[in-house]
Amino acid sequence: MSAAGYSRDEIMTVTAARQLRNGAVCFVGIGLPSAACNLARFTHAPDLVLIYESGTVGARPRVLPLSIGDGELAETATSIVPLPEVFAHYLQRGRIDVGFLGAAQIDRFGNLNSTVIGDYARPRVRLPGAGGAPEIATHAREVLVVMKQSPRSFVPALDFRTSCGYLTGGGARRASGCPGAGPRAVITDFGVLRPHPDTEELELAALYPGVSAAEARAASGWPLQLSAALETLPAPTAAELTALRTLEARTREAHDRPVRIPLPAATRRLTEELT
């Protein structure tokens, strides 16, 4: 927590939530994207439609899920569809407005790596891999990226391209026939990067209150350009902070509740005899 009365994580989540318009259909990833989408749902965007890749369509979780397939998502969804359907009928068919992605590495054109650090065959660090990201990056009408900035994660060249942003920039993505428009914003712990309209190179478009452009540039592995219209973002409102903290407190409480599985008497007896 800073002197400002909120943490960088909090303003990052609030800023990500503000990017979502009410009524949009979002394909949501776990972690900060899920926190941002649900914060938006509890504040300015009550009719946001959340689709998690586990096939839960129209989920309205009361607590944040730890995994993409928590029971909370299933129990609050409008419908649950088999996994091949969520990718084919919803994503591939072009029915998703906003896809939310994170990654281990991003380059200046918003291409993403979530597969390996080092060589693919002999990686220094094996990361979880693609999951739904490549198709989200391709098919969602627009993409929001949420990532903490550091020279290790904002790199001049990716070790591996898992998901496409603007490829080499300057219209390369459009020329490839990719149906979605690509990353509209990258929300970091310093501010927001947006693509330059012509070159499509990500540039610093907005900073959080009290953060300097020099700090943000020092946390980038490529020479981060400043937008001509660089602005300062408003701090989180009291209402946004309360909504976020309430949601997180409810989540902590739910995740700490111990799981107890009642075993049928027959199984219990058998176990007692044998152990």
């Binding site: 776990i30 972690g31 586990s54 096939g55 839960t56 899920p65 730890l66 995994s67 993409i68 397939g69 928590d70 029971g71 299933a74 129990e75 649950i80 088999p82 996994l83 091949p84 990718f87 084919a88 591939q92 693919y120 990686p123 220094r124 094996r126 990361l127 979880p128 891999g129 693609a130 999951g131 739904g132 990201a133 490549p134 198709e135 391709t138 391209r161 898992t162 998901s163 496409c164 490829l167 993505r173 490839s176 026939g177 990719c178 149906p179 995740h255 509740r257 111990p258 799981v259 107890r260 599985i261 009642p262 075993l263 049928p264 199984t267 219990r268 058998l270 176990t271 044998l274 152990t275």
Partner: protein
């Protein structure tokens, strides 16, 4: 369908060298069956699963697998799978060959396998580095109608698919409720289907459009209450998110991993005993 004790079902249906898909997307992961495979010390398995999850981290760390087909290999909401990382980065306890897809590709690969097709088709726009690896599974072709580029994903047909489900009826029909992932497709694609269930009932409470595997599709079934723990069974028990967080620490170190497996999996004779030893059984 034959109703068998789990140890017997695994002994008679999973062989060394088999391709085995334990499916269930975050929900209904057949942990009890996976642990039994570890207890019976199966070797050289080709493990297939969209999200390897903790159960494949355990099978890989215990040296049961020589190959992994997957599309996202992390601990959901927590981070990496430490045993999977150790196998790929440092070949411990043995080398692990990877066949890697995206979720969308792997879902259609199961669908193709379930439909008697040799491959599935997807629209193709931009090559990812996954497709550029030597021996990449996905191949390109053009649509015979529009000329547009398509990606062909080879069908997946596991020797054995193992699922966990909520209920089985007296005839052996199996009901799967909640998040189903690609469980149905993986079952229909397989040569043999093993199912563990929470309970047997006289009649399935199934809506007309429910996902029910007919008894004659299921090769063998076992009644294993709590069989998906630490994942969950909707309507029975929730996901143990605290355990998924704790696993990151247990699995980070080879010795603490081996000690945990020794105590809770090899050191007990079945899943009910594991749940009791962990203090989860009520």
């Amino acid at each position: 369908m034959r109703l068998l004790p789990l140890a017997e079902a695994i002994a008679s249906h999973v062989r060394d060298g088999d391709s085995v898909a334990l499916e269930g997307f975050t929900h209904l992961i057949p942990f009890a069956a996976g642990h039994e495979i570890i207890r019976q010390r199966r070797r050289r398995l080709h493990l297939i699963r969209m999200t390897p999850d903790l159960i494949y981290d355990q099978l890989i760390g215990m040296g049961c697998a020589e190959r992994l087909t997957f599309s996202w290999g992390g601990n959901p909401g927590v981070g990496s799978l430490q045993r999977l990382r150790d196998a790929v980065e440092r070949q411990w306890p043995q080398p692990l060959a990877l066949c890697e897809f995206t979720h969308a590709e792997m879902a259609v690969a199961y669908q193709a396998g379930a439909s008697g097709l040799s491959c599935a088709l997807m629209p193709h726009y931009v090559a990812t580095d996954l497709e550029r690896q030597p021996g990449a599974a996905v191949k390109m072709l053009s649509c015979p109608f529009t000329g547009r580029p398509l990606a062909a994903v080879p069908a997946l047909n596991p020797d054995v698919t193992i699922l966990h489900a909520q209920q089985i009826d007296r005839e052996g029909n199996v009901l799967i409720r909640g998040i189903v992932g690609a469980a149905r497709e993986a079952a229909m694609a397989a040569r043999r289907v093993l199912v563990t269930v929470e309970e047997q009932v006289d009649r399935l409470p199934a809506e007309l459009n429910a996902i029910v595997l007919p008894a004659w599709i299921v090769t063998a079934a076992s009644i294993v209450p709590g069989g998906a723990y630490p994942s969950y069974a909707l309507g029975y028990y929730p996901r143990d998110n605290a355990f998924y967080l704790a696993w990151d620490t247990i699995a980070r170190d080879r010795d603490s991993f081996t000690a945990w497996m020794q105590r809770y999996v090899l050191g007990v004779h079945d899943h009910a005993a594991l749940l009791r030893t962990l203090g989860v059984a009520a």
